[in-house]
């Protein structure tokens, strides 16, 4: 490969990686945007979703070593996989909100955030105890098609990841901006008491937000499994940290910001790894984050919101 081919390949790698982070950041930033809660359990929900997906596939008789699927059977399997996994993770999110977070929602300070950290550790350790520390292979359902891009190449999985990420961003933005539910969400985000007085069931809005956010985490988890072909109890940690950084960098609460932040982090990771070495990845990423926060505290696309009285 020539130097230009390597650079091109790293850009492709970075965009795919960035979209993975963006997928995970979307649900996280949406929850923050509505109820201003930094939900660290979101990333453990993402990890849990991969194991839910494994169980669903196993129940359908699809394992890492079973014959590959094509045509309608592949489409049907993917449909069932996504619907069931997203429903399960969505309901799990609702359960977490109801049991762990509703009572602390009105508590000022860091209590709600710390509660989500506790939930995250509970999920991690439950998965670790049940599945063990070893990496679990995830069935490779997507075809391994590849196309040349100069001296580099693009895979079908990368294209799917990119396209789905953009579609989800558009769909989510449309939901929040153009639907009645979205209007209720924005009203709740602006002033929950006023929204309540206007007849909006704030608790229902919060529950739906958690359901959607967790379902998005479930979708992201399946793309992770299908793309990388594995899962483990710790995947929420590094990927989650980068996704959190993406959300903050892009402007926490901003849906397009989550995608922009994700792509930025992904490209930084791949190009930084190419020119400086992958051991410097976290130094580079978090240095950029600090710089952006110093000069633009609301993130790249975050809007300045006045403090509430």
């Amino acid at each position: 490969m020539s130097a230009l081919d390597v650079l091109l390949q790293q850009v492709v790698n970075g965009l795919a990686l960035g979209m993975m982070y963006a997928l995970l950041a979307l649900g996280f930033t949406m929850v923050y945007g509505i109820i201003e809660l930094i939900n660290f359990s979101h990333f453990s929900m993402f990890m849990t979703g991969t194991f839910v997906g494994l169980v669903v596939l196993d129940l359908m008789g699809v394992t890492p070593v079973s014959a590959s699927l094509t045509g309608l059977s592949l489409v049907g399997t993917l449909l069932v996989l996504f619907v069931v996994t997203m429903a399960v993770t969505g309901l799990l999110g609702v359960l977490i909100e109801r049991i762990c977070l509703r009572s602390v929602r009105r508590v000022s300070g860091t209590a709600p955030m710390i509660t989500t950290i506790g939930v995250a550790f509970v999920l991690i350790n439950v998965m670790l105890l049940y599945w063990g520390p070893q990496t679990q292979r995830f069935p490779q359902l997507l075809p391994n098609w590849r196309w040349p891009l100069g001296g580099a190449e693009v895979t079908f999985k990368q294209l799917v990841l990119f396209v789905v990420g953009l579609l989800l961003m558009v769909a989510l933005w449309h939901l929040v901006r153009r639907t009645t539910l979205g209007k209720a969400m924005r009203a709740t985000a602006q002033d929950a008491d006023a929204a309540r007085m206007m007849g909006i069931d704030v608790d229902r809005v919060v529950v739906l937000t958690f359901f959607l956010g967790s379902a998005l985490a479930g979708a992201g988890s399946l793309f992770f499994g299908l793309y990388y072909g594995f899962t483990s109890y710790y995947i929420g940690y590094t990927t989650g940290l980068r996704a959190f950084t993406s959300a903050v960098l892009g402007g926490i609460g901003s849906i397009p910001g989550a995608v922009l932040g994700g792509l930025f982090i992904g490209l930084t990771q791949s190009l930084g790894g190419q020119f400086l070495g992958v051991k410097w990845t976290d130094v580079i990423i978090f240095s950029i984050l600090i710089s952006v926060m110093v000069f633009r505290p609301n993130g790249l696309l975050g809007a300045h919101t006045p403090q509430k009285a």
């Binding site: 490969m1 130097a3 081919d5 390597v6 390949q9 790293q10 790698n13 970075g14 990686l17 993975m20 890492p64 070893q134 990496t135 679990q136 292979r137 992770f224 990388y228 072909g229 594995f230 710790y234 995947i235 940690y237 590094t238 990927t239 990771q269 791949s270 790894g273 190419q274 070495g277 992958v278 051991k279 990845t281 976290d282």
Partner: protein, 293 residues
């Protein structure tokens, strides 16, 4: 547990000392026991005696093995990765040092984050440098992801690791095709398939419900060394103190199913044998003893 550790005269330590890390050091501080490390220790030595060769030797032998096997006759170039842990960095350093001494050109060195899922960045970078081989120093947490991604990005490169990738579950974790052709090593003679240990292996499988590795045999021999030292000390009429047992272990000269066991002044086993293996068709196959010189 605290009481018996403080009273212990000898500890048989199953993990590599540095890799045991957090769990080893607090226990070591509570006891003045003479640790007998059963598996290869890291550099520098973390206990007075090791019943299997140092990883320093393992890395050296591995580099010799790769240079001698003829895979590198036409200008050998290799890239070295480690997983950032004490064991992985140590053995990668050892490999790199010896490879360079043997004329193998190391075109780069980088570090993997074991919790990172995506290694395509570093593998694409490595592919751009076009090395003949890739050496990974580290354990399974990174290897389980490195193997399939390396298979995807640079399928034709020779790939090798240490005993960190001698893990019978590797094909299950990474896929049979991804681990195909990977070399690995063990700091021990090839024992499990030797006819003289067939009965031992059969009993192990029956009792433990899993297959033994060579290190199971060296661990067994390490405890045997301790028992022999205790017996000689008692027969000599000396009290079973840590000092006396340390001296007895130093003077060990016993036969065992891995061969004669004796220790040098550094506490290393005298017969330093490193075996090379290769993953083929989902199974690990013995290749040869790595040359020492």
């Amino acid at each position: 547990m605290a009481n018996w550790i403080e009273r212990a005269a000898v500890l048989a330590w199953p993990l590599q000392g540095r890799r045991a890390g957090c769990s080893y050091q607090p226990i070591r501080r509570r006891t003045k026991g003479v640790p007998l490390s059963i598996s290869p220790a890291d550099e520098p030595p973390c206990g007075p005696f090791r019943a299997a060769p140092f990883h320093e030797a393992s890395g050296h032998f591995r580099a010799h093995g790769e240079a001698r096997e003829g895979e590198f006759r036409k200008g050998p170039y290799t890239y070295v990765l480690d997983d950032g842990g004490a064991f992985g960095v140590g053995i990668a350093d050892s490999f790199q040092r010896r490879a360079q001494e043997l004329g193998v050109k190391v075109v780069g060195r980088d570090r993997l984050d074991p919790k990172e899922p995506d290694y395509k960045t570093v593998l694409t970078k490595i592919k751009g440098l076009n090395p003949d081989a890739l050496y990974y120093g580290g354990v399974m947490q990174a290897a389980a992801k490195l193997a399939p991604q390396a298979y995807e990005v640079m399928p034709r490169a020779i790939k090798a690791g240490s005993d960190g990738v001698y893990d019978l579950s590797w094909p299950k974790q990474s896929g049979k095709e991804a681990v195909e052709g990977w070399f690995c090593s063990q700091a021990s003679p090839e024992l499990v398939t030797a006819p003289k240990v067939e009965a031992w292996v059969t009993k192990f499988k029956s009792d433990m419900k899993c297959d033994p590795t060579n290190y199971a045999i060296t661990a067994y021999n390490a405890v045997y060394v301790i028992a022999d030292a205790v017996e000689r000390t008692a027969k000599a009429g000396k009290p079973l103190t840590r000092t006396n047992l340390r001296d007895a272990i130093q003077a060990t000269k016993v036969g065992s199913i891995q061969g004669p066991i004796a220790f040098d002044a550094n506490g290393d086993i005298l017969t330093k044998t490193v075996s090379i293996y290769q993953w083929r068709d989902g199974e690990i196959k013995y290749v040869a003893v790595a040359p020492e010189k």
